[in-house]
């Protein structure tokens, strides 16, 4: 089911996120985090809804502790929004899909 949201790692972070001009949403998650399992299907749906408009990635914080500490992550799921390589917004915890859509829509304007 995870076709629409590609996994990303430290190695490709700079290229795929920071050097990209696109609107990007990144889902920080881990296998042991049950709220992450609630948000990941929503991210999948958004990836399909916004196909061609925004990009979606997920990153496993266990496998990428450097990135988790670089962005001072203190809780997951954390969803980060990037535009033109800049971190512009961030949400922690399970939030309704509508709220995420609003954020994406305003970034795409």
């Amino acid at each position: 089911m995870s076709d629409a949201v590609a996994s990303i790692s430290k190695e490709s972070w700079d290229k795929d996120i920071l050097q990209s001009q696109d609107v990007i949403m990144v889902d920080f998650w881990a296998v042991w985090c049950s709220p992450c399992k609630m948000i990941s299907p929503i991210v999948e749906e958004l990836a399909k809804d916004y196909e061609g408009k925004a990009k979606f990635f997920k990153i496993n914080t266990d496998e990428n502790p450097d990135l988790a500490s670089r962005y001072k992550i203190r809780g997951i799921p954390t969803l980060m929004f990037f535009k033109k390589g800049q971190l512009v917004d961030q949400v922690v915890g399970v939030v309704p899909k509508t709220q995420l859509k609003e954020k994406l829509d305003s970034l795409l304007e």
Binding site: A30, W32, C33, S34, P35, C36, K37, M38, T61, D62, A68, K72, I73, R74, G75, I76, T78, V92, G93, V94
Partner: protein, 306 residues
């Protein structure tokens, strides 16, 4: 569509009720707004559920309950119920997005959610050091100092769990003794990474980008001080998820659903089970027992009234 039974909430109570009604060949729909398994899924290890002598994880236990109920025909839908309306014997459920379902009987198993402390800084630093789920967020506090607020089972067990990551864990409790099970207390008292701060309440959570400290006050001496911590894990109890049914069934003064020994609520044909029920001990084993009772009661009600 008309169901025999609609169950709202997919934790252990709801899944057990669904198992019983499905096996009774009652057409049953379970509606869950978040994750099947409910609060239990955030518990890493459950040692007091009978039948699993080596313990079992919350996700595995509820995953098995779900499979078992599905095997007997339970239908499960994702959705958030907004209201229940009654017309004669039939109960109508309206979901977010205006989808509707009807049922002869309803079982409310909506559970509870962690109670917030209600102090300055709590909302501001949520996800930036303030957490209600140690199993979710504990790993981000490797080598750091954290505080756990509360003195019940959740607080004490999660404090012990947090010592896997944190260098030092303070348990800040407003009383001068713990409420947790003796076995949980023993584990905490013998853990060198746990320090207790008794008779103390948190007044304020402070920080910059993320949490840096908490302002605390000793309620006996009224002495105030600041404690350097990077994380604050709040386990001071629960609030029931009853907002959408407060005008439908009778609640007690803390908003839990009032029921009798058959799990009947104030409305005929509406039953309840699990943590949302007034007087529940908030244990998985109790929720499962409630769920079985509610399932059987719903069956009897339908047989008598339809």
């Amino acid at each position: 569509m008309l169901f025999d039974v609609i169950i709202i909430g997919g934790g252990p109570a709801g899944l057990t009720a669904g198992l019983y009604t499905s096996r009774a060949r009652l057409k049953t729909l379970l509606i869950e707004k978040g994750l099947i398994g409910g609060q239990v899924t955030t518990t890493e290890f459950i040692e007091n559920y009978p039948g699993f002598e080596d313990g079992i994880s919350g996700t595995e236990l509820t995953g098995r309950m779900e499979k078992q109920a599905l095997k007997f025909g339970l239908e499960i839908n994702q959705g958030t119920v907004q209201k229940i309306s009654l017309s004669g014997n039939i109960k109508k459920i309206t979901l977010e997005g205006n989808q509707e379902h009807e049922a002869k009987s309803i079982i409310l198993c909506t559970g509870a959610h962690p109670k917030p402390l209600g102090v300055e800084g709590e909302d501001k630093y949520r996800g930036k050091g303030v957490s209600y789920c140690a199993t979710c967020d504990g790993a981000f506090f490797k080598g750091e100092t954290v505080a756990v607020i509360g003195g019940g089972n959740s607080a004490v067990e999660e404090a012990v769990f947090l010592t896997k990551f944190a260098e030092l864990v303070y348990i800040i409790h407003r009383r001068n003794q713990l409420r947790a099970d003796k076995i949980a207390q023993e584990l905490a008292f013998s853990n060198p990474k746990i320090k207790f701060i008794w008779s103390t309440v948190v007044k304020k959570i402070e920080g910059e980008e993320s949490v840096k400290s908490v302002q605390i006050r000793n309620i006996k001496t009224n002495e105030e001080s600041s404690l350097d911590v990077h994380g604050v894990f709040i386990y001071i109890g629960y609030n029931p998820n009853t907002e959408f049914i407060k005008d439908t069934v009778k609640l007690d003064e803390s908003n839990y659903i009032i029921s009798d020994g058959n799990m009947s609520t104030s409305v005929p044909g509406i039953f309840t089970a699990g943590d949302v029920r007034a007087g529940s001990q908030k244990q998985i084993a109790v929720a499962v027992g409630d769920g079985a009772t509610a399932g059987i009661s719903a069956g009897k009600y339908i047989e008598k009234n339809f």
